[in-house]
Each structure stands twice: as structure tokens, then as C-alpha cells.
Assembly symmetry: C2
Homo-oligomer: 326 residues x 2
């Protein structure tokens, strides 16, 4: 065994905590320190060093890759260029529309610093992106469908909690089985987002609130629910705490294509995740290995999952992979 | 649009025919010629040049990538090193146990010739191999299960046809739904190949043959059927011709892993193929693009799917992929 890959974590929310757990599962990595704006944080492993984020710059000779666990809205657009000037990095930037601009800003810094930055890693963008591109490349005469869920949606949960009379609540996005079966049958249907998904809400009412009115307000809410098949369930606060605190998610990428004289070929990739942040963090950690290896090979600048051979994320050597997995 | 990638096909059986069809679907490729030991062959597109395999050496300045469509038993071990001395190549060598040795022999030639050879491409080995490695890299505390089918098995069909009293017949391998559901539930069961699959035979009897005896002989055949749940159906020759001439196949790679304090995470990849050879050929053709691009970048020698970024197989540029697919 060669030396372990030395990893740091920037940001210690759900994603950062997932990254700590994931690093501890990997045979060839060690966590050097967790960096947070809060200064010292309570890590799972008490032996892990916890340091204020401003001190990170002093760890340039102690850390091979920084895993950036901040949010896409404000943290990453600022932090990734900042840290790519000093470290190899990996992040989960997921604002799809802004990826080209984000790529350019990170690439410019990383090219100048000679570091390697893998951007927009996770499952969507990430593993789902890989499956969209590979299945279309192979079956160019075809259509790709992405379905999300069953999963807790943060934005939609926030929206139902803002409704008058709602004390607490959560919203799940559920892929439509009917729509998926049409795709799997090779029908190549045209499907809007609302035809592909249903929405399900679990609501705790304020005392004296009118259930019927709350349900109506939710179901007719523009953009969020009006176009969808939405179910609203009322539960107690105890039920909410007992059954709805996990963060499940998942989804499906289904590609339906034709070859030859019209043969149907279906490629399907799916995830069923008990914990969305822990899985996303696990993908980040595997790609931290790729960032390290690419940098060792002299491949600097910003990279995406499209640029990286699948073997780079696995701990085994290329010869072991050919022998045991191919 | 830059110049199209110029492609040749070596071998014109089911796989070579599928490759001709697949190349015609790709926007950035043109088929220069089909090379066969039979000399001239009847191609789908009559404008395609058909040439004896011995003439291939005269096409070194006319072809960017050769797609090798021979079999793994005898053709490829001989042909791939031979052609890697003159061309970039891609092949579907699928004798899993011999891949390391095959890799070495191809790599040696391709390193010396400065060409790029992508070996063992298709769906297993190929897309399934990618999913085995990526899901294990991400969820290292877990188990990967590969199920094959529903698919026509050539070896098992040959075996039933050798049984006395059998005039004609086919055999399908079918993944066990019960076994797959146990895996998807995160049970992490230990499963033998025979616990993961069932076998189904469709048999046309010779006149006067004893159906019961034929069924018994098949079901108790060592290695092939004895350990499996095997169903034997008797049909007419007309039914066989009508319903069982296609070459469907497919399968499932399911990885069940745990993160954090025991959260179940399930990653599943599956294929449902109306035509096995056409799909395998489509994968070969997409990786021919990667072989061409890698060679343009100066990456010579033997490569596997593990070494190649997913974006290399898609016709779009890296910037287009980031904008439209990530």
C-alpha cells in the first residue's frame, strides 16, 4: 500500500458529515481536517481535526484534495475558485444552467495554479449525467428520460410550510409508474415534467386550521403544484417526527433507442437512496480519488465526470480492475 | 463540422452487420469498407465497399479506426494484435478470464505502432463493467450482483439441440425476480449463479420422440441445467420460426451498499435488448469514436472502458456536453 490520499472537507452540513462518513469507509484515504466557518465543529470521529475555514490556507502541504461541501447558490461560486488556487478540489455544484460559466471560472484558476478541480459531481449532475451521455452516444436514434424520486424536495417542502394553517410538513416527488412504463415499452412519448411526476405532501396543521382549505391552497399553488397530480395527507407532529425525518431520494434515467430495422433497445439506470446527502458525499469522495490521480498524471484545470475514466474513481489499480471487474 | 471519422469493419457476421447499421446512424462517421475472409459480401448499403480481409493493409491511410467484429475464441486473439500494428482498433473480446493476457498482447503491439486499441467493449464486458466498478467505488461497503437475461444463450441452445429426439430448439436465460427483489431490498444475500437465474427451453421434437424423456434429459444435464430451475416447452417448427428467431438479451447490475449509520443505497443498471448483436455493435461504434479521439490526443496503446471518460464516446464537444447534458 502506498501512502493514503490526504483529504480535507470544507463545510460541515449534511454533505460534509456524509463526506466524513464516506472517507472512513475508503481503504486508501485519510481525513486530515474539517474546515468550517463556525470554527470548531462536532465531528463523528473525535480524533478528526476541526479547524476554522480561514486556516485552510495553512494546510497546502498537508492535504492532497479538498472536498467542497458548500451549497451551489452562494458558497461554491465563491469558494471553488478560491480553493482551486491552492488545492485540488471536488465539488457538487448543481445549478445546471450556470455550469458552463462556473466551469470557466474554476478552470481559469486551476490552470494557473496547476491544480485539478473536478466540478459538478454527485448523482444529478454526476452519475445521471454519465448515463444520459453514454446511452445517447450508443443509441443515437432515441430519447432519454430523467425521472426524479421518490424523494424529499427541499424547495417544495419550504413552499407547503409557507401556506397559512400549516405548522409543519414535507413534500415528496414521486416518479409516475405509468409514464415510466410507457418509456420502457419503447413508446418514445412526449412527457412534460408534470406528466412524469406526482407530488405527495404530509402536513401537520396549526390548531384550528381548515384542512380542506389548506389542501386546496397547496394543490392550486402555481409552478409548484398546480400542474401536478398532488396528494395531501394530514398527520400528527409525532408522525412527522417518526416517519419523515430521513432524506430519501433517487430517480431513473431511461433511454429508449432503435437500431437496425427498428429493434427496441432500452437502457435504464436508477438509484434508490435512503440518504441523499450521504450518497452524494460518497460520490464526491470517490471523485476526490480521481482528482488526486489526474493531478499526479499532470492533468490540471477543471474537469467533469465526462472527462474521467471510470477506473480513476476506484481504489484498485488498472491491472486489478481488468482482472477482477471487466 | 470537421471531417468525418473514417471507419472500417473487419468481419461481417451478426456483429459486423450491426456495426454497419450503427455507423449509418452516427452523424460524424463514415464507413469506408467492410473486410471479410469471404471476399465480397452483401452489405445493407450497396454503396459500401466490400473487400477481402487480405487487402485491409492497403487501407492504412484511408481508415481512422478498424472495428473488429470477429469472435473471441479464435479470431480476435489473432486479429487484434495483427491490426493494432496498422490501425486504431476497437473490439469486443469477451472471454473474461483471458482479458489480462489479451490486454498485454494488444498493448505491446499498439505501443510499438503508436496506435490506440480499445479492447473488450460491448455490454458485458463493457457497460456492465463500468457499472460494477463505479458503484463499488462509491459504495465500498456493499455487494454487486450481475443478472443476465432475459436472453437467448447460444451455448445452452446448442446443448439442447444435441439431445436425442430434439429436432430444433432455443434456450433463454431468465433472471430470477425473487433474487433481484432480495438484492433491491438491501438484504445482501449470498446467491449462486443458479439461484440468480432460471432457464427456459422451446423444443421442436423429432417425429416419434418421447417428450417426457427429452424434458428429463435436458433438466438433468450436468453443468448446463441440473442446478437450475428449468422449464421445457414443446412447440412446432412453425412456432419456432415465427417466435424465436430474434436475438434478445439484457440483464441487470445491482449494487447494494450502506453509508453512515446503516442507510441502504441501491444503484441499478439494466438493459432490455431486442437485438443483442446490434446493441453490442452500437457500443463498439461509439467507442470507435473514443479510439480516434484518444489517438488524436497522443494516447497510444491498449485501453479499456475504465480508462476512457464517458464524453469521449459522444459526438458532441466537451463544452456542448457540459451545457446540454451535465
Amino acid at each position: 500500500m502506498t501512502d493514503k490520499i490526504k483529504v480535507g472537507i470544507i463545510g460541515y452540513g449534511n454533505l460534509g458529515r456524509g463526506a466524513e462518513r464516506a472517507i472512513s469507509q475508503q481503504p486508501d484515504m485519510e481525513l486530515v481536517a474539517v474546515f468550517s466557518r463556525r470554527g470548531t465543529v462536532q465531528t463523528f470521529d473525535q480524533h478528526v481535526k476541526s479547524v476554522h475555514i480561514d486556516e485552510a490556507k495553512n494546510f497546502q502541504d498537508k492535504i492532497d484534495v479538498m472536498i467542497l461541501c458548500g451549497g451551489s447558490a452562494t458558497d461554491l461560486p465563491e469558494q471553488t475558485p478560491q480553493f482551486a488556487a491552492m488545492f485540488n478540489t471536488v465539488d457538487s455544484f448543481d445549478t445546471h444552467a450556470n455550469i458552463p460559466e462556473y466551469y470557466e471560472s474554476v478552470d481559469q484558476v486551476a490552470q494557473a495554479s496547476g491544480k485539478t478541480s473536478v466540478i459538478s459531481v454527485g448523482w444529478d449532475p454526476g452519475l445521471f449525467s454519465i448515463n444520459r451521455v453514454m446511452s445517447e452516444a450508443v443509441l443515437i436514434d432515441g430519447n432519454t428520460y430523467t425521472f426524479w424520486g421518490k424523494g424529499l424536495s427541499q424547495g417544495h417542502s419550504d413552499a407547503v410550510r409557507r401556506v397559512e394553517g400549516v405548522k409543519a410538513g414535507v413534500q415528496y416527488t414521486i416518479p409516475s409508474e405509468e409514464a415510466m412504463d410507457r418509456v420502457r415499452a419503447g413508446e418514445n412519448p412526449e412527457l412534460s415534467t408534470s406528466e412524469k411526476h406526482k407530488r405527495e405532501c404530509f402536513i401537520v396543521l396549526e390548531e384550528g386550521a381548515n384542512a380542506e382549505q389548506v389542501a386546496e391552497t397547496i394543490k392550486t399553488m402555481p409552478n409548484y403544484f398546480a400542474d401536478y397530480d398532488t396528494a395531501v395527507h394530514f398527520i400528527t407532529e409525532e408522525e412527522l417526527d417518526r416517519d419523515h425525518t430521513a432524506m430519501p431520494h433517487g430517480g431513473f434515467v431511461i433511454h429508449s433507442g432503435k437500431t437496425g430495422a427498428g429493434n427496441d433497445q432500452i437502457v435504464e439506470f436508477s438509484l434508490k437512496l435512503d440518504s441523499n446527502p450521504e450518497f452524494t458525499a460518497s460520490v464526491l469522495v470517490a471523485y476526490a480519488r480521481a482528482a488526486y490521480r489526474l493531478h499526479q498524471e499532470g492533468q490540471k484545470g477543471a474537469k467533469t465526470v465526462y472527462d474521467i475514466g471510470p477506473g480513476y474513481i476506484h481504489p484498485a489499480s488498472p491491472a486489478e480492475l481488468r482482472k477482477n471487474f471487466l
